[in-house]
């Protein structure tokens, strides 16, 4: 009888009972406080269980699984990017950032331009860099951190401010939008079509990526597992880099460089979606 009771309680919690059975359980709950306690304990343990596995959805999916899903052979082992931050920034990171850090950062980048900021960053990083890390690697990693920070900041700014921050809103002729944005860029930008993912292009902003003007293309969707997303496309003189995953607070970033073009895809979407979308973008831009 107890077994039957447990089944009924669990099924009640799971919404799997018919009307009559549900009414029966509710009458039982009304009549016996100990059953209510039991139901509450079962509900709490289920919540705890889900919490214990929640990280699986946000942590990076290993390279070998992505490759396996594509039926590809991975020829290089997973490599950790050397994590490097100048000591001063490490101290900053030790305490929780203020709510507006990303807005301040992105606004500062927009106002002063990272052409100068990037240069200062390079000098500062060199001076503060730990001796055991090769200088070239320090510069490269610090620079990478800078522009990924900026990409995350731009995204936060965009999602906080809404459509008001879009420099060139989407129109019936998005070719015209892209042309306007491209006028301010070293090389023209193409607009990836992400409609198959349910993503709608909302407009473009001018931002700075790797010390150069870049286009931030904004996509939105009702599907919160995917969007909103920002794709930043700029030019670069740095070496090609394979698609690489990074996190900034609650944001996932995928970035890559290919043949003079740097791209960053930023959003809160699940990594599997992000990978699929990045792959689609790369294919459309012929960037990977």
């Amino acid at each position: 009888m107890q077994k039957h009771s447990d089944e009924a309680l669990v099924a009640y919690l799971d919404g799997e009972l018919g009307d009559a059975e549900r009414a029966h359980v509710e009458a039982w709950l009304d009549a016996d406080p100990s059953v209510r306690d039991r139901l509450l304990a079962l509900a709490e343990s289920a919540t705890t269980l889900r919490g214990a596995f929640a990280d699986c959805l946000t942590e990076p999916v290993p390279e070998r699984l992505i490759a396996a899903a594509r039926g590809e052979t991975v020829t290089a082992v997973e490599a950790e990017i050397v994590e490097f931050r100048p000591p001063a920034r490490r101290a900053d990171l030790a305490s929780p950032p203020s709510r507006g850090w990303y807005i301040q950062l992105a606004t500062a980048a927009g106002l002063f331009g990272l052409v100068v900021g990037g240069g200062v960053g390079y000098v500062g990083n060199t001076m503060l860099a730990p001796a055991q890390i090769p200088a070239g690697q320090q510069l490269q990693t610090a620079s990478l951190n800078n522009w990924l920070d900026n990409a995350a900041g731009d995204y936060k700014l965009m999602t906080s401010a809404g459509d008001t921050l879009v420099d060139v809103p989407a129109s019936g002729d998005n070719g015209d939008v892209i042309q306007k944005v491209s006028q301010n860029l070293p090389q023209p930008v193409r607009l990836p079509n992400l409609q198959p993912w349910g993503l709608t292009f909302k407009g473009a902003r001018l931002v700075v990526l790797e010390g150069r003007p870049a286009a931030q293309l904004v996509y939105t969707t009702d599907n919160k597992a995917i969007g909103p997303l920002a794709l930043i496309i700029g030019s670069t003189k740095q070496a090609d880099i394979a698609p690489t995953f990074e996190r900034r607070q609650d944001l996932n970033l995928l970035y890559w460089r290919h043949q003079g073009r740097a791209s960053v895809l930023v959003g809160q979407s699940e990594l599997g979606y992000l990978w699929g979308i990045a792959n689609d973008i790369a294919w459309q831009l012929d960037a990977i």
Partner: protein, 193 residues
């Protein structure tokens, strides 16, 4: 922590599962985080879970033609993961490498496990790992992955009533384990009817 992915050019000519339809692969990639979560609930380590998911991906690609359009792709993949895992368990039993032994072989001096053991959430995972395989699968499918009883029954190939009873036993046992602490009674493993 960051990870860099670097893909080699796919060896299309040598691949026995070529050509892989892009849409199928995209579906597979999209469901990878959930497959990893499901596998994490079945296995005892992250690497073991990823091995399981990788094996499932390879099997799914090899059997792409068996997937019926219009049916749930995630359920199909969960079934593949479960099938492979059960096969692995049986193979271990044959080799006398039961889960208890495998856990002991990891050793109490394994630093990573020591750190994880201090985390409350890992205690929950540990509690899950003490459930019998059938209960573990059902618990993960319904309570974590959110499948209905009917969908879980389809994945596991048992009647809905069996799902219901397995789930109830799993939920009660989990609650008892959590109350006792994850390192609590081991007798739950033998409770499967």
């Amino acid at each position: 922590m960051s990870s860099r992915w670097k893909f080699g050019k796919p060896d299309r000519a040598a691949s026995p599962i070529d050509p892989v339809s892009k849409r199928f692969s995209d579906q597979l990639i999209a469901v990878l985080p959930r497959l990893r979560r499901f596998a994490a609930g079945l296995t005892r380590s992250a690497s073991e879970a990823d091995d399981l998911v990788q094996a499932a991906c390879e099997r799914a690609l090899a059997r792409e033609h068996q997937f019926q359009e219009g049916t749930r792709f995630d359920s199909w993949m969960f079934r593949i993961v479960q099938t492979i895992w059960i096969d692995q368990l049986r193979a271990r039993e044959t080799r006398k490498e039961g889960g208890e032994i495998a856990e002991e072989r990891l050793g109490s001096d394994e630093p990573v496990r020591r750190v994880e053991a201090r985390l409350a959430l890992s205690e929950v995972r540990q509690a899950v790992s003490q459930l019998p395989p059938d209960q573990r699968v059902t618990l993960m499918l319904v309570t974590v992955e959110g499948l209905s009883y009917k969908q879980a029954a389809d994945v596991t190939g048992v009647p809905v009533g069996t799902v219901m009873s397995r789930l109830a036993r799993a939920r009660i046992a989990l609650q008892q384990l959590l109350e006792a602490g994850a390192g609590g009674p081991r007798s739950v493993s033998n409770a499967e009817a």
